[in-house]
Amino acid sequence: MRHLLTAALTRDEAIELLDIAEDMDQIHERDQKKLPALRGRTVVNLFFEDSTRTRSSFEIAGKWLSADVINVSGKGSSVSKGEDLRDTVTTISAMGVDGIVMRHGASGAPNVVASWIPQIVVNAGDGTHEHPTQALLDAFALRRRIHGDASRGKGLDGVRVAIAGDVLHSRVARSNALLLPALGAEVTIVGPPSMLPPGIGTWQAAHTTDFDEVVDSRPDALMMLRVQLERQTGTFVPSAGEYIGGWSLTPERFARLGGETLVMHPGPMNRGLEISSVAADAAASLVLEQVRAGVSVRMAVLYRLLAGRTDS
């Protein structure tokens, strides 16, 4: 594995990363949160889209591994002066950095960037395509809640995960639909008909538009997707009321889950739209564990890609 562009990993690759993340996760309990593994390496966070949590999570991960981390955002840089993507990344590449963590609004942008420059590239979200570290952190948080300290070496075999909401615009859903089945999970996709992507029949997942049926099946985990108002170009549901009526995790639906189903959300949450506060703040909610897992998983990815020789 030279880059991390997709969550389409083999089971062995995924478990190796999750196990390294388990070892990295211990740093949260320490007073001295610094490991020397990436001393002398430089990582650029190149974000062409707004992001607070993913960018800061990658920044913390790199810094805890002693890498020098530089943040470059699309706004305020020469990108907003109309510089071509290729010129931007080859310029940063020529400065002698070791890795680029990249978020871009165009699906597939990290793949072409990886073909232009010799450095390793980590996809931190590309358009409506993929967000592989989000899928890894979701798998990590889920595995940890299910298996605890005995997580190492395990997959998510037989774990029933439902992914609900605006699947069409969700790179989180796409990456999870690749990674979770590779780990043995049984995935169901549910959302309004207008928000299910064409070709969903080819995904390694069941799909339906009936959210109430999914709720009543009491899956082991229910991942609520953010309604991405900024990414929608047309009208996909007539009103917020209709969306809440059909596909929101309301207090009433949350009660019907029975308390055993783990509730996940990639954040930032639209409370009261796709998820109610009762569900988001419940003991069954994994939301903050997902955030913590994000740092551990990103440390594992940076370690895996950058700690060894990077010229092979």
Partner: protein, 182 residues
């Protein structure tokens, strides 16, 4: 050339029992001792030594035993492919003010122990750090020595020393083989 067995199961058992006694003698009792094994085989040896310390002193050493992964602190990380990491488990007492006994299977160049000393520094400030190894095969590249040695095994750099432990290898033995790649 076939591998020659230099320590058998009973020899290893005796060596570990002796090391346990020496640790207690040097530290005048079990208080403030923390036994940390370096994964993977050093961690298994640490558990065995801790079990003997428990038998000898009649106290439970499980809560004073842990593992210390040194992978992230190695000086050859950037020269090789990425190495897998292992868990670090530090006893609840922590290591501040304790006498930490590091346990590893083979002492060779000394670089693993240097990395271990760095890793310990990140975790706290022990009162003292000691080193116990099952085999010391010489060829040090750093000024490091062991306090407790199961067997001094003079060897050529071209020879390969293998530590087999029942927990992972199905049997206990130390073997030496001429000329295999290392």
């Amino acid at each position: 050339m076939p591998a020659r067995t230099v320590l058998q199961e009973a020899d290893i058992a005796r060596a570990l029992t002796r090391i346990a006694h020496e640790i207690l003698e040097a530290n005048r009792g079990p208080e403030s001792l923390v036994i940390l094994g370096i994964p993977t085989r050093g961690a298994l040896l640490a558990e065995r030594i801790a079990a003997r310390l428990g038998e000898i002193t009649g106290t439970d050493f499980a809560g004073r035993t842990g593992t210390l992964d040194v992978t992230m602190h190695r000086d050859d990380l950037a020269r090789t492919g990425t190495r897998p990491t292992h868990p670090t488990r530090i006893p609840a007492s922590g290591i501040d003010g304790q006498t930490v006994v590091l346990v590893d299977d083979v002492l060779y160049s000394g670089r693993t122990i240097r990395a271990a000393l760095d890793a310990l520094t990140d975790l706290g400030r022990p009162a003292a750090v000691r080193l116990a190894v099952l085999v010391d095969r010489g060829h040090r590249q750093l000024p490091i020595r062991a306090d407790y040695v199961g067997k001094n095994l003079p060897s050529a750099a071209s020879e390969h020393v293998s530590i087999l432990l029942a927990e992972v290898d199905g049997q206990d033995a130390v073997t030496i083989q001429e000329g295999s790649a290392r």
